[in-house]
């Protein structure tokens, strides 16, 4: 191959070579790659008392771990559970990847993945994830978080947002059927899920799948409730679809069964402002 200035370089033809073979990298490339990998590492920040106990080798005693992935799931938990003001934020996970916004979005990034613990029942831990966790970070996120939790007697519940466009069924789905819930649980989960099981050939991906994989392999009871919705973005009807999932949790913590509509509206409105398409 000749460059613009006419030097002839020995470059092999792409047409007959592997596209994913490991090429010999120069030092600078390697350094950039290493720094990027470092930046992509998931970091957990716990409050001082949790950090203390983790350092002394005591993992968090946890009977219920509720994880909400997506804006609807997170807003649902905020309105129905966290609104009772009996919750402390005890930690957060920092995730940086190609979809993270630059310095301007700093505050939203920091609040994108927060852990809350109940004041009276500290064995209940709740986590909100509203940021994007990249494919190469999901496994790591799960390993790091579960490394802080005592796995014995632990039950994990994941609420996850999905799109009805990703749901496959032999019957045609009419528009009135969405939103709806489907459950997928590990072998160690002996309880009865509150909704129908997820049918083949549908699958769960992303962070909820990473949590299920980890719990299945390590024999932890876990269930994912996937909500298939036909609305993009936060929506109060979709949030209410998650309501039956809390019946089980209601025993250990108080659940605000009917929050004021205003509370839900607040979460919906927060994103509406950004859209001026029809003004």
């Amino acid at each position: 191959m000749a460059t613009f200035f006419g030097e002839v370089l020995s470059v092999y033809s792409r047409a007959v070579d592997e596209d994913d073979e490991d090429l010999d990298e120069n030092e600078e490339d390697e350094q950039i790659r290493r720094e990027l990998d470092e930046k992509r590492t998931v970091q957990l920040q716990w409050s001082t008392d949790v950090t203390e106990s983790l350092r002394s080798g005591n993992k968090l005693l946890c009977s219920d771990f509720v994880l909400a992935v997506g804006h609807n799931a997170a807003s649902f938990l905020s309105a129905y559970v966290l609104a009772s003001a009996k919750w402390d934020a005890v930690g957060r996970a920092l995730v940086w990847n190609e979809r993270s916004r630059a310095a301007t979005g700093q505050t939203s990034e920091e609040s994108a993945c927060v852990f809350y613990r109940h004041k009276d029942t500290p064995a209940v831990l709740i986590c909100h994830v509203t940021c994007y966790v990249a494919e190469d970070q999901q496994f790591q996120w799960t390993e790091k978080v579960f490394d802080c939790l005592q796995p014995r007697e632990l039950t994990v519940t994941v609420l996850s947002d999905g799109s009805v466009a990703d749901y496959k069924t032999a019957d045609y789905l009419c528009s009135s059927s969405a939103p709806f819930l489907r459950a997928l649980h590990t072998s160690a989960f002996s309880d009865q899920p509150v909704c129908q099981p997820l049918e083949q050939p549908n699958i769960v991906t992303g962070l909820p799948a990473a949590v299920l994989n980890h719990c299945q392999v390590h024999r932890i009871a876990a269930v994912v409730y996937q909500c298939y919705s036909d609305v993009i973005g936060p929506d109060s009807v979709t949030m209410e679809t998650y309501k039956p999932t809390l019946t089980k949790l209601g025993k250990s913590i108080q659940v605000n069964s009917s929050p004021q509509t205003d509370a839900l509206r607040k979460f919906v409105r927060a994103t509406e402002i950004q859209s001026n398409l029809y003004i």
């Binding site: 092999y12 494919e135 045609y172 083949q200």
Partner: protein, 266 residues
């Protein structure tokens, strides 16, 4: 490293000593994975464990091989190992792509797991882009094989009897007569196939064979049957009735082209 990758799903210790391992390479058209699905569902293999690693993209679903409503539930993970102890057969299924920058690490972990498990031989089912074949590859059957020296030592006669075609090496610079350039092995679209084969040849000397098919993206179910029948000619997993094998298509292959269509269309 490898001992941490394989996690048993049973309380018993799993022994693979002298088993034959069949595994797919995640490659173009997913033919290897489809063929492995056919083996698992037809022979009704039982799951013995998982390959739990950060090299694979997380994914979960209910039983892909369910035959009735009762066994529809049961969580399945990205990479799982199945066995039929009486046949001395182990099958690894990989259901997801490998995270690109970790493909080398995954390959190395696989090789060391294969080595430490004591499999007598490993068969990798793979595929390659049909459109990148050169002139000599365009002729005849689209099926090819590759075998490492240590496998050839024990199976050279069998392979000769089968009359299979070995994967051709292609010239480094097609059309240019250059005595220095040695013909090279190219498996475009084959994912980790080439790396796995070269690692097994050179550094580790594992008894490993690659069976691959040239194919194009689309409905690749016929390709999967072609590849699994080809494998069956060698391993005799299933009795051939006449000239047709009765492979069982798993339920997870349904709705390949999406959901049902609205009845209002008609």
């Amino acid at each position: 490293l490898n001992s941490r990758m394989f996690i048993s799903s049973q309380n018993l210790l799993v022994a693979f000593k002298r088993f034959t391992l069949v595994m797919p390479a995640v490659a173009v058209c997913n033919v290897g994975q489809l063929a492995v699905d056919l083996i698992i569902s037809t022979l009704n293999l039982s799951r013995v464990g998982y390959l739990h690693t950060d090299c694979l993209i997380p994914m979960a679903g209910n039983n892909p091989y369910s035959t009735c409503k009762e066994d529809a539930e049961g969580l399945h993970c990205p990479a799982e190992v199945f066995t039929a102890a009486e046949r001395k057969l182990a099958v690894l299924q990989i259901r997801v792509p490998i995270i690109q920058k970790k493909s080398k690490k995954f390959r190395q972990m696989l090789v060391s797991w294969i080595k430490s498990s004591g499999f007598s031989r490993t068969v990798v089912l793979s595929s390659s882009h049909a459109y990148q074949r050169d002139d000599q590859q365009l002729h005849g059957t689209p099926l090819r094989y590759l075998a490492t020296p240590s496998l050839l030592k024990v199976s050279v006669d069998t392979l000769k009897e089968l009359g299979w075609r070995e994967m051709e090496r292609v010239p480094a610079f097609p059309g240019v007569k250059d005595a220095d350039a040695e013909p090279r092995l190219c498996i475009p679209g084959g994912g980790i196939t080439k790396g796995l084969y070269s690692d097994s040849c050179l550094a580790e000397d594992l008894p490993l064979a690659v069976l691959l098919l040239f194919c194009s993206e689309g409905d690749n179910i016929p390709d999967a049957f072609a590849l699994v029948n080809h494998l069956n000619d060698w391993l005799h997993l299933l009795d051939t009735l006449g000239c047709e094998c009765k492979w069982k298509i798993p339920t997870s292959w349904s709705l390949l082209f999406g959901s049902g269509i609205p009845p209002a269309l008609f």
